[in-house]
């Protein structure tokens, strides 16, 4: 046990009962190369300080719970290996741009509320009472498959300065899910999603910073999803202008 090398992890902490701004706390602990950062945080909680608070669940990069800023970059803590972070020190903070509930736990309600606004669901088109699956070719699946991999981990929201500057912005993941459903051959909800797409807080708050796509652990490419939709939104804007009465 004691033979293992140690590393310092600095965590930014905050508690609503403490009448003070966030503070840093350093923990020194033994680690293994193939241990994830999440496991190191669990070690701190189990052995050193039970009050350290963070979310986690699947520990395999699929549930999207464990996002935090690691050395200034949004990451899934279960997806980083200590071997890659050594020799440290590692700085861990709550995801940027979100209100902090406590320590590494952020308030994600805003994004959850935005999902229905962005129409992040399929609107079944034809006969909904059918008991047979409809058909969709692999090529049709490929049209939206990339955008459908979003685990709602919110890393992209922490990467997007426009979300930080303009909290109304629907944001990368919600808009990627909008594009995911628009591109699904089974969907009939494009018209419903137009209002959100065309809004200022829809695609137009994005200035193509592109960092969302860089940090996404699932390769979703929200920057593409959003900016593709700008063209469509602009087209509809002009058509509405030229053909009054086309809309509403």
């Amino acid at each position: 046990m004691s033979e293992r090398p140690t590393i310092v992890i600095e965590v930014r902490r905050w508690h609503p009962d403490a009448e003070q701004p966030p503070w840093w706390q350093a923990f020194e602990l033994p680690y293994r190369e193939d241990q994830s950062l999440l496991e190191a945080l669990q070690h701190i909680k189990d052995e050193l300080d039970g009050s350290l608070t963070f979310r986690w669940s699947c520990r395999m990069a699929i549930c999207g719970s464990c996002g935090c800023m690691v050395d200034g970059r949004p990451e899934l803590s279960c997806h980083l290996l200590m071997g890659d972070l050594a020799p440290g020190p590692v700085r861990v903070e709550p995801l940027a741009h979100f209100p902090v509930i406590r320590d590494l736990v952020i308030d994600q309600q805003d994004v959850l509320d935005k999902l229905p606004v962005a129409g992040a669901y399929l609107v079944p088109g034809d006969d909904t009472s059918a008991t047979e699956p409809s058909r969709q070719t692999p090529a049709q699946v490929a049209e939206y498959a990339q955008f459908a991999q979003c685990i709602n981990c919110l890393l992209c929201y922490s990467a997007c300065p426009q979300y930080g500057l303009k909290p109304d912005f629907l944001g990368p993941a919600a808009l990627a899910l909008m594009a995911r459903h628009d591109a699904d051959s089974r969907d009939a909800g494009q018209a419903e999603r137009r209002e959100a797409r065309d809004a200022t807080s829809g695609v137009w708050d994005c200035t193509l910073v592109g960092h969302c796509t860089e940090v996404c652990p699932q390769g979703v490419d929200p920057a593409r999803a959003i900016n593709r939709n700008k063209g469509a939104s602009a087209r509809d804007y002009l058509l509405d202008l030229l053909l009054p009465g086309r809309r509403r």
Partner: protein, 124 residues
């Protein structure tokens, strides 16, 4: 959860920005290369070589060339002003509607002036 969704009026500006950006990416380096390097090497200070007054006027003698020149200037202006507007926002400058008018007003002004100037050019 009450979320106001206001329709954005950015599309026309974004289209102009995009057109200007594309134009700039395609030919701006070449144009700067001309005014800043090729022309100076071609002769002395404007009274001879590629930048001769009469030559310039003859280059811009056809309506197409004039329109292209005015369009180039206008689109670049829209491109630049749109970005500058957003840059101000990004840097935390809260100009509100005033900033918007200043930025896009400048672009419009530059476009109009450019157009008036090329149209007024004398024929060689």
């Amino acid at each position: 959860m009450s979320r106001r969704l206001r329709r954005s009026h950015e599309p026309p500006f974004w289209l102009l920005f995009g057109a200007g950006g594309l134009l700039a990416a395609l030919i701006l380096p070449a144009v700067v290369l001309f005014t800043g390097l090729i022309a100076p090497l071609s002769g002395r200070c404007g009274d001879s070589g590629l930048l001769e007054h009469a030559r310039m006027l003859s280059l811009l003698s056809t309506p197409i060339a004039r329109l292209a020149c005015a369009g180039f200037i206008a689109l670049l202006a829209w491109h630049a002003c749109h970005r500058i507007y957003h840059l101000c926002h990004d840097l935390g400058l809260r100009g509100g509607a005033g900033l918007r008018w200043a930025c896009y007003g400048t672009a419009a002004l530059v476009s109009v002036i450019g157009l008036v100037l090329v149209m007024g050019l004398p024929h060689p």
